[in-house]
Amino acid sequence: MELGRQIASRLKEATFERVVAAGLSNAEINGPRIQRSVLELSRLRLGAGDSAIVVGAGPSLHRRRSLERLRASGYAGTVVAVDGALGACLRAGVVPHVVVSVDPHRERIVRWFGDPALSAAPADDYFRRQEMDPAHAADELSANRALLRLVDAHGASIRVAVATSAAPEVVARCAAAGMELFWWNPMYDDYDRSESVSLRLHRANGLPCLNGGGNVGTAAWVIAHAVLEKRRVALLGIDFSYPPGTPYERTQYYPELRALFGDRFAEAYVSLEHPVLKERWFCDPAYWWFRDVFLEMAREAECRTVNCTEGGILFGDPIELAPLEDFLADVRAGAGVTPSERT
């Protein structure tokens, strides 16, 4: 087995190691702010019908102008966005019904909501390096100021499905922008075990535990079908990978892979040809793991999942591939999307 897939096969346990301490620490700090459960979202009327669109922050989002096309369509269903896609959504005139935030990182994630404390370009090149939101890569300070204004303007009409693991800075920013917060616990481990972290956390705060699938995009998809009970869920910007030609230096885990493997770092990436585009996309081990997990979860889900990303590596049974317009047309017609690979 190639190196990248070998690493990916061990990331379930590694992710627990990575997030559990910070997640529990944040949960304790966030405790006094917890008022509403994510389950309450299912009782709100968020969008029409039984469909939802989950918006991730992958590079196809702007390459395919997915949000501009969504906005032009007049789609009336539910829009669930990951925190990293919030800025792109608002700039395109798409105000998501729900934004999902999970990551416990104390400095980075608040930037997706506009960081009121940012006064100089940070040494951390996380945002400049990647293609998740090109607005941040171009001029971090002015992008941050513009995002602050946008989020402040629309905050009152956005609900945040926020994990107890989320950074307190994110929670404070969302509250200041007038967003309503709906809480859940990340499912850290098997809640049926007596020493389970998930069980302990649930007993402490009474919140449901959500199986997040390794990343915020998958968590948003889980919220769309398991919490909001949508039965047709389309994905936008869920690439789990980088387009052909992306320099390694501009990938999310590049510094870590370089530090771990030195000159052999490139062997840790995995590539896969998109069955419709015939392009070879590539990913870090983490993204490969996200893909494996998503496919496993999708087979258990009580919804149809239609990947309208039009790029990336997320395909395979039972996920359908279709252009966004096909999904939207079928939603309007009240029908399901015919399983196809019509991107």
């Binding site: 690493i7 061990r10 990331l11 379930k12 346990e13 590694a14 992710t15 627990f16 190691e17 990575r18 997030v19 559990v20 389950l39 999970v102 990551d103 416990p104 990182h105 994990a163 693991s165 990340p186 499912m187 850290y188 481990d189 098997d190 809640y191 049926d192 998930s198 649930h202 009474g206 449901p208 535990c209 959500l210 199986n211 997040g212 699938g213 390794g214 990343n215 915020v216 998958t218 968590a219 889980v222 079908h225 398991a226 919490v227 885990y253 870590e256 892979l257 771990l260 870090d284 081990p285 983490a286 793991w289 996200f290 997990v293 496993e296 979860m297 087979r299 258990e300 889900a301 009580e302």
Partner: protein, 64 residues
């Protein structure tokens, strides 16, 4: 401590077992891998949403 090193006498000095070299390699690997993980866990075969001890988790699709 491995069984064959145990004696039938006691010593005054307390000897700390620092573990095998393999353990420290495992620990290093574990720490290194943790830098490559995701932002939220995944738990196999436990459904999507667990509402607590007195509430059922959301149903998975039943095996057909």
């Amino acid at each position: 401590m491995p069984e064959f090193l145990k004696g039938n006498y006691k010593v005054d000095t307390k000897i700390e077992d620092k573990g095998d070299a393999a353990d420290s390699t495992d620990e290093f690997e574990k720490k290194a891998l943790s830098r490559l993980g995701g932002s939220i866990c995944f738990v196999s075969k436990k459904g999507f949403l667990w509402k607590g001890e007195d509430g059922a988790r959301t149903s998975d699709r039943q095996p057909s």
